[in-house]
C-alpha cells in the first residue's frame, strides 16, 4: 500500500481496532459502475452532501465533468483531486462556485488513488481504492483494456468510516489549500448537526440502485474477451452490497452485533445434523447472513399481491437473480408451522425448509444473546431453548426443535460455534453456481 495515501492512512488508523479494513479487488469496470450508482444517489438524496473525489489524472475527471456539473447542483461542495492535465481547470464544471480542484503533485501518493467520498446528513457512502503498480500486475503486466485495470481497496455505506476518511482527506487538502480545508471542515460540522434532524435515506433503495448499475455493466461487457473475470467481480460486488446492508443492521444493534454470523453458524450445523446437501447448506448460510434485512420490516403491512404477499425489504434481494432463492427463504421467515404466521400464512412443509430452520435459529440466537446479558451461559442456553420449545408445533417444526435441542446440549457441554465475521469482499463461496434446476434438485 502506498505510504501516505489516504487508504493507507485509514488502514493505520483502524489497525488496532476490532474491525480492521477488509480490502477487495476491483476492476475499473466495477469501480465505474459503483461510483455512478453512488453518485446518482446524490441526485435522489434527501440532503446536500459534501463530495470529495480523487481521479488520479485530470483527464479521467474530464471524462466525468458533465456528470459532475449535475452533481454539483445537488451538493453543498465538490472537491476534485487529480494530477492536472490540459483543460483540467477550463471545463465549465471546474468553474462552478461550489466546485474546487486540487491539482495534485504527480509524486503525491493520492495521485495513484481513486476515491469517491460522500458525506450528507441523510446519506454516507464511499469508494476508496488505489491502482496496482506495473510490478504488482505480475507476469501478465498491465492489461491493455482500460476497463480491466485493477484496483484494490473497499467501499462502504458506514457513516463512521466515511467521517474518518473525510477527516483524512481534508487534512491532505490542507497541505495544498488551507483555506479550502477550513471551508470543508465547516461543512463537516454543519452536516453533523443536520444529521440528527433529518431522516436517513432509504438504504434499501440505495443498495437496489447499486446492484442495478452493476448488473447493467454485466450486460454491457458481454462482448469483451475476458468478460468472465469482470463479470465475477461485478457479481461479487452485487453480493457485497447486500452483505454491507446486513452488516450495518448488525452494527446498529449493539446488544446483538453478531446476530448474522452466529445465526449462520448455528443454521449450518443444523443443516449438517439434518444431512442436507451442500447447496442447501450454502443457502442456509447466506439467508442467515441476510436474515435481518427482512426482520427489519416484519411489522409493516403486507401488500395484497394476488398470489403471495411479499416482505418489501426481501424484495430488494430479487434485484439480483442469483439471490432469488435466498429472497424466497427470507420472505417466509416469519411464517409459523401451524399456519398462523406471515406473510402468506403457509403451514407445515409448505414453508421452505430453509425458512423454517433460519426462522427458528434466529429466534433462538436472539433469546440466547438477550438472556446472556443477565444469566450464565448454561442458564441462558437452557432458558432460550425452553422458550423455543414452548412454541414446538406452533411456531416451529417439531423435528427442527429436536435438532436444536441436540445442538443446545452440545453448546452446554462446551461445543463452540465456528463464528467469524464475514469477509465481505469475498462472499463468492456463498453463492450457488448460476444454473437451472439441475438433476436431483427440486
Amino acid at each position: 500500500m502506498l505510504e501516505g495515501s489516504i487508504l493507507q492512512q485509514l488502514e493505520s488508523a483502524l489497525e488496532n481496532t476490532n474491525r480492521p479494513l477488509n480490502l477487495g479487488v476491483y476492476y475499473k469496470n466495477t469501480l465505474v459502475a459503483l461510483c455512478h450508482a453512488l453518485e446518482d444517489c446524490i441526485l435522489a438524496a434527501g440532503s446536500q452532501p459534501l463530495v470529495i473525489t480523487a481521479f488520479q489524472r485530470g483527464k479521467w475527471y474530464l471524462q466525468e465533468a458533465e456528470r459532475y456539473h449535475d452533481l454539483a447542483q445537488k451538493s453543498r461542495h465538490v472537491v476534485i483531486m487529480a494530477a492536472p492535465d490540459t483543460g483540467f481547470a477550463d471545463h465549465p464544471t471546474s468553474k462552478l462556485p461550489n466546485v474546487d480542484l486540487v491539482a495534485l503533485n504527480s509524486q503525491d501518493p493520492v495521485a495513484q488513488e481513486w476515491h469517491l467520498i460522500i458525506l450528507a446528513p441523510s446519506y454516507t457512502a464511499m469508494v476508496l481504492c488505489q491502482e496496482l503498480s506495473e510490478a504488482d500486475y505480475g507476469v501478465g503486466g498491465r492489461p491493455t483494456a482500460d476497463l480491466e485495470r485493477k484496483f484494490y481497496g473497499f467501499w462502504t455505506f458506514e457513516p463512521a468510516r466515511v467521517e474518518k476518511t473525510i477527516e483524512l482527506a481534508i487534512a491532505h487538502i490542507n497541505t495544498y489549500n488551507p483555506e479550502l480545508a477550513q471551508q470543508l471542515n465547516s461543512h463537516v460540522q454543519a452536516i453533523a448537526q443536520e444529521a440528527s434532524q433529518v431522516e436517513p435515506d432509504d438504504l434499501n433503495a440505495i443498495v437496489s440502485r447499486v446492484v442495478d448499475y452493476l448488473q447493467t455493466s454485466e450486460y454491457s461487457i458481454k462482448q469483451i474477451e475476458h468478460h468472465q473475470v469482470l463479470d465475477s467481480n461485478l457479481v461479487s460486488n452485487e453480493l457485497q452490497a447486500f452483505l454491507r446492508l446486513g452488516q450495518l443492521i448488525d452494527l446498529a444493534d449493539t446488544g446483538n452485533p453478531l446476530a448474522a454470523a452466529e445465526v449462520a453458524a448455528i443454521a449450518e450445523i443444523m443443516g449438517q445434523l439434518l444431512n442436507l446437501p451442500a447447496w442447501q447448506i450454502k443457502r442456509l448460510r447466506l439467508a442467515s447472513l441476510l436474515h435481518r434485512i427482512a426482520l427489519q420490516s416484519v411489522n409493516v403491512q403486507y401488500g395484497e399481491a394476488p398470489s403471495c404477499p411479499l416482505v418489501p425489504a426481501a424484495q430488494v434481494l430479487r434485484t439480483m437473480p442469483r439471490l432469488s432463492a435466498i429472497a424466497q427463504i427470507i420472505n417466509h421467515l416469519s411464517e409459523r408451522w401451524d399456519g398462523s404466521g406471515q406473510p402468506a400464512g403457509l403451514s407445515g412443509e409448505a414453508i421452505p425448509l430453509e425458512s423454517r430452520i433460519v426462522g427458528l435459529v434466529a429466534d433462538f440466537q436472539q433469546r440466547f444473546t438477550h438472556l446472556s446479558q443477565s444469566h450464565t451461559k448454561e442458564e441462558a442456553l437452557s432458558t432460550a431453548f425452553a422458550q423455543c420449545q414452548q412454541e414446538q408445533g406452533k411456531a416451529w417444526e417439531p423435528k427442527l426443535v429436536d435438532t436444536l435441542e441436540l445442538l443446545a446440549r452440545g453448546m452446554q457441554q462446551g461445543l463452540t460455534l465456528p463464528v467469524s465475521p464475514t469477509k465481505i469482499s469475498s462472499g463468492m463461496w456463498l453463492i450457488d453456481e448460476e444454473r437451472g434446476e439441475v438433476g436431483m434438485r427440486k
Binding site: P20, Y152, S426, V438, M440
Partner: protein
C-alpha cells in the same frame, strides 16, 4: 451395455465394479451406494447425480462431467483429471491419492474431505469451500483459489507456488513451511494465519491483512 444403462437408470443395478461406461449419460440420477470401483467413466456425464456413499475408488473419471453432483463418496486414487466438479458436494469424501490436475472445482464444497497425496495442480478452486481441510503437503501449484474459503485449513508444507489466492480467506490457516513463491495473495485475509517458514519469494501481498 444399453441394458445395463437402463438398469442403472432404474436403480436395479448397484454393483458395477470395473464396468466400462465411457461417455455414458448418467446425469440427474440417484446412484447412491453404487459400486463403480475401478470403472472406466471417462467423459461420462453425472451432472446433478447423487453418488453419495458410492464406491469410485480407482475409477477413471478423466474429463467426466460431475457438475453439481453429490460426490460424498470414496474416490480413493481416482483419476479426476480435467473433470468438471463445479458446485459439487465433496464434503467428507475420500480423495486420498486422487489425481485432480486441472479439475474444475469452483464453488464446490470440500470441507472435511481427505486429500492426502492428492494432486490439485492447476485445479480451478475458485470460491470453493475448503474450511478446515487437511491439505498438508498437497500440490496446489498454479491452482486458482481466488475467493476460496480456506479458514482454519491445514496447509503445512503445501505447494502453492504460482497459485492464485486473490481475495482468499486464510484466517487461522496453518501455512507453516508452505511454498507460496510467485503466488498472488492480493487482498487475501491472513488474520491469525501461521506463516512460519513460508516461502513468499515473488508473491504479491498487496492489501493482505496479516495479524498473528
Amino acid at each position: 451395455m444399453t441394458d445395463s444403462i437402463a438398469a442403472i437408470r432404474e436403480g436395479k443395478i448397484k454393483q458395477l465394479p470395473g464396468a466400462n461406461l465411457e461417455d455414458e449419460d448418467l446425469a440427474g440420477l440417484d446412484l447412491a451406494e453404487m459400486n463403480l470401483a475401478g470403472a472406466n467413466l471417462v467423459g461420462a456425464d453425472f451432472s446433478g447425480s447423487k453418488l453419495e456413499r458410492s464406491r469410485l475408488e480407482g475409477a477413471n473419471l478423466l474429463g467426466s462431467r460431475l457438475h453439481g453432483a453429490d460426490l460424498r463418496a470414496n474416490l480413493l486414487g481416482a483419476n479426476l483429471m480435467q473433470a468438471d466438479m463445479t458446485a459439487a458436494d465433496l464434503r467428507g469424501s475420500n480423495l486420498r491419492g486422487a489425481n485432480l490436475m486441472g479439475a474444475k472445482l469452483s464453488q464446490s464444497a470440500i470441507a472435511g474431505a481427505f486429500l492426502s497425496g492428492a494432486n490439485l495442480m492447476s485445479a480451478n478452486l475458485q470460491g470453493a469451500d475448503l474450511r478446515g481441510v487437511d491439505l498438508r503437503g498437497v500440490n496446489l501449484s498454479n491452482a486458482n483459489l481466488q475467493g476460496a474459503n480456506l479458514t482454519q485449513a491445514d496447509l503445512r508444507g503445501a505447494l502453492l507456488n504460482e497459485a492464485n489466492l486473490e481475495e482468499a480467506d486464510l484466517r487461522g490457516a496453518n501455512l507453516a513451511g508452505a511454498n507460496l513463491s510467485g503466488a498472488n495473495l492480493l487482498c487475501a485475509e491472513l488474520d491469525g494465519a501461521n506463516l512460519a517458514g513460508v516461502n513468499l519469494a515473488g508473491a504479491c501481498l498487496l492489501g493482505t491483512v496479516v495479524k498473528q
